[in-house]
C-alpha cells in the first residue's frame, strides 16, 4: 500500500513537471482553456441581463449549475487523461509498454498522466463560479448540505470517469472512437449547462438515462436549490448521484476487465 502511494506521488510529480515545463506557455494554455470554457457562461450572463430568468433560474443559480459541471470535469481529468487518450496510445502501440510493467494497467492509465491545463482551466472556472454563486443562491451551508455536496461531486466525477473508461474500452474492439466521444460526451455536455427542463422530452431522456449528465449537475443543484421545474421528475433522483456514479463505474470497470483479455497490439 505504501509502495502504491509512493508510486502515485512520483507519477504526479513527474506529470506536473512535464506539463509545467514551460511556465509562461503553461499559464497561457490554462488561461485559453479557462476562457474557452467560459464562453457559455459569458453568453448566459449577457443573455440574463436582458431576460432576468431562464425557466425560473436566475443568473446565480445558473452559474451554480455550471460550476458543478466544471468542478467535476476538472477533478475527473486529473485521473482520467490516460483514458481520454487511450485510443491514441493503442494506435501508436505505446500502450504495450504498460503491459510489461509490474503494476495494474488501469492503475497506470489513471496515474501516469494528467492533463493539468484542462484540470486548471476547467477546475479553476468551476471554483470561480462556485465562489461567485454559492453565497447567493440561498443554500444554507451546514453539515448536511456540505456532505451532500461532496458526495455529489464524487458521484459526478465517477459518472464522467465511467464514460471515459467505457469509451476507452471500446478502443479494444473499434479502431476509432473519438467521434463517438464527441457525440455522446462533449455534445451532450453542452445541454447540461442549462436546466434540462427547457429542452425537448427526447433530450431529457438522453441526458437522464443514456448519458446521465443530469445526475452530474442538474439533480444535485435541484436538491440544494429546489426550483419549481423539479416537479417534472421523481424526487428520488435528487439522491441518486453517488449511486449512479458508483454503479456506472463498476459496470465500466467490469467491461474493461472482460475486454482487456482480448487486447491485440497494433504496434510492432
Amino acid at each position: 500500500m505504501r509502495d502504491i502511494m509512493h508510486l502515485v506521488g512520483v507519477y504526479t510529480k513527474t506529470t506536473a513537471r512535464s506539463w509545467f515545463q514551460y511556465r509562461v506557455d503553461a499559464l497561457l494554455r490554462s488561461l485559453a482553456v479557462f476562457l474557452r470554457e467560459s464562453t457559455g457562461v459569458i453568453v448566459i450572463y449577457f443573455t440574463l441581463l436582458k431576460f432576468d430568468n431562464l425557466n425560473g433560474w436566475n443568473i446565480h443559480e445558473l452559474l451554480f449549475l455550471y460550476s458543478l459541471l466544471f468542478l467535476t470535469y476538472g477533478i475527473m481529468i486529473i485521473f482520467f487523461t490516460g483514458l481520454r487518450d487511450f485510443g491514441r496510445m493503442v494506435r501508436s502501440g505505446n500502450f504495450d509498454r504498460f503491459i510489461l510493467r509490474p503494476r495494474g494497467l488501469l492503475f497506470q492509465l489513471i496515474f501516469a498522466n494528467a492533463d493539468w491545463f484542462a484540470a486548471v482551466g476547467h477546475g479553476g472556472l468551476g471554483l470561480v463560479l462556485f465562489v461567485i454563486s454559492a453565497g447567493k443562491v440561498g443554500v444554507i451551508w451546514n453539515f448536511k448540505t456540505v456532505v451532500y455536496y461532496l458526495f455529489a461531486i464524487m458521484g459526478g466525477v465517477l459518472i464522467q470517469g465511467a464514460v471515459f473508461l467505457f469509451l476507452a474500452t471500446l478502443n479494444i474492439y473499434l479502431f476509432e472512437t473519438s467521434s463517438l466521444k464527441e457525440l455522446f460526451y462533449y455534445n451532450m455536455r453542452k445541454f447540461a449547462g442549462y436546466p434540462i427542463s427547457i429542452f425537448h422530452r427526447a433530450v431529457q431522456i438522453i441526458i437522464i438515462y443514456i448519458m446521465p449528465f443530469a445526475f452530474v449537475n442538474y439533480f444535485p443543484a435541484q436538491y440544494l436549490l429546489r426550483k419549481e421545474d423539479m416537479e417534472g421528475y421523481p424526487q428520488i433522483f435528487l439522491y441518486l448521484t453517488p449511486v449512479v456514479g458508483v454503479g456506472m463505474y463498476l459496470l465500466a470497470y467490469l467491461f474493461w476487465k472482460f475486454s482487456i483479455k482480448y487486447y491485440k497490439s497494433s504496434g510492432n
Binding site: D25, R29, L31, T39, V43, E182, L183, N187, I198, F199
Partner: protein, 265 residues
C-alpha cells in the same frame, strides 16, 4: 494577370480530400444542429408567453441562430495553415513556389467552404427548418444583398484568422492565441447571443470591433431590418475591416519572412 489554375487545383484537392471522411461529416452536421437546438431551446424558454421582446420575435431569433451557426459551419478558415508550415519548416518550400502562399490558403479554404456549404450547411438548414422553422428572406433583392454581405463577412473572418496566424513567426505556441481569438468571435459575433439583446454599452463597444460584421450584418439584411442606405454603409464597414485587418496581417507576413530562419534540410 495572375494565373488562377493552380489555385483552383488546390481548392479542388481540398474539396475532394474532405469527401473521404464520411462518418466525420455526419458528426459535424449533428454537432451544428445540436448547437442550434440548444440555443433555440434556451430562447424558447426565455420568451415563454411573449411573442416579441424589443420588437424581436422568436422566429427572428431562430433565424439568427440558424444562419449564423450555419454560416459558422461553412466559413472554414484553417487557423493552423501558417503555424504548421512555419513550425515544420515547410514554409521554405512554399515560398519557393511561383504562387502566393496566402493565395493558396484562400484557395484551400474556399474548397473547404464549398464542401461545407453543400454537405454541412444544407443538411443542417433543412433539419432546422423542419424542426424549428426560420423566417423567409425579406425579398429577392434583400436576399441577393444578403449573399454579398455573407461573402464580405467571410472575408472579415478570414482576414482575422490570417493576421492572427502571422504571430506564429514570433510565438511557438499559437494554440492559446487562436483559442482566445475564437472566444471573442463566438461571444461577440452574435452566433451565440443575438446582438439585439446585448446591453447598450456593449453595442457601443461592438461598433468599434469587426465581430458584428461577420454574421450579424448578413442576418440583419436577410431579415429586412436595414434600409438600402444602411446596407450600403454596413457593407462598406465590412469592406473596411477586411482591408484594415488584411493589411495588418500582410505587414506581419512581410516582416516575418525577413525574420524567418528555417533549420535543418
Amino acid at each position: 494577370m495572375i494565373k488562377l489554375a493552380p489555385y483552383l487545383a488546390y481548392a479542388k484537392k481540398c474539396f475532394l480530400g474532405r469527401s473521404a471522411y464520411r462518418f466525420d461529416h455526419l458528426m459535424n452536421i449533428l454537432s451544428t444542429c445540436l448547437q442550434i437546438f440548444i440555443f433555440w431551446g434556451i430562447y424558447h424558454a426565455l420568451y415563454g408567453e411573449n411573442t416579441e421582446v424589443d420588437g424581436i420575435t422568436l422566429p427572428m431569433v431562430a433565424t439568427n441562430f440558424v444562419l449564423s451557426m450555419g454560416l459558422g459551419a461553412v466559413f472554414s478558415t484553417n487557423d493552423y495553415f501558417f503555424p504548421d508550415k512555419i513550425h515544420d519548416g515547410s514554409i521554405a518550400t512554399e515560398l519557393l513556389r511561383p504562387i502566393s502562399v496566402p493565395g493558396r490558403m484562400i484557395a484551400e479554404n474556399a474548397g473547404n467552404a464549398l464542401f461545407n456549404l453543400i454537405f454541412r450547411f444544407t443538411p443542417a438548414l433543412v433539419l432546422s427548418i423542419l424542426i424549428i422553422g426560420i423566417s423567409a428572406p425579406a425579398g429577392v433583392g434583400m436576399f441577393i444583398l444578403f449573399l454579398i454581405s455573407v461573402l464580405l463577412g467571410y472575408g472579415v473572418l478570414w482576414a482575422i484568422s490570417f493576421s492572427v496566424q502571422m504571430t506564429a513567426f514570433w510565438f511557438v505556441n499559437v494554440w492559446s492565441i487562436t483559442t482566445i481569438k475564437n472566444v471573442f468571435i463566438n461571444v461577440l459575433s452574435g452566433s451565440m447571443i443575438p446582438l439585439w439583446f446585448m446591453p447598450g454599452w456593449m453595442k457601443g463597444v461592438l461598433y468599434l470591433t469587426p465581430f458584428s460584421s461577420i454574421y450579424f450584418t448578413p442576418v440583419q439584411i436577410y431579415l429586412g431590418q436595414l434600409t438600402y442606405q444602411e446596407i450600403a454603409l454596413k457593407c462598406a464597414v465590412q469592406g473596411m475591416w477586411i482591408i484594415l485587418i488584411y493589411l495588418a496581417g500582410d505587414f506581419l507576413w512581410k516582416k516575418g519572412q525577413k525574420k524567418l530562419v528555417v533549420q535543418g534540410g
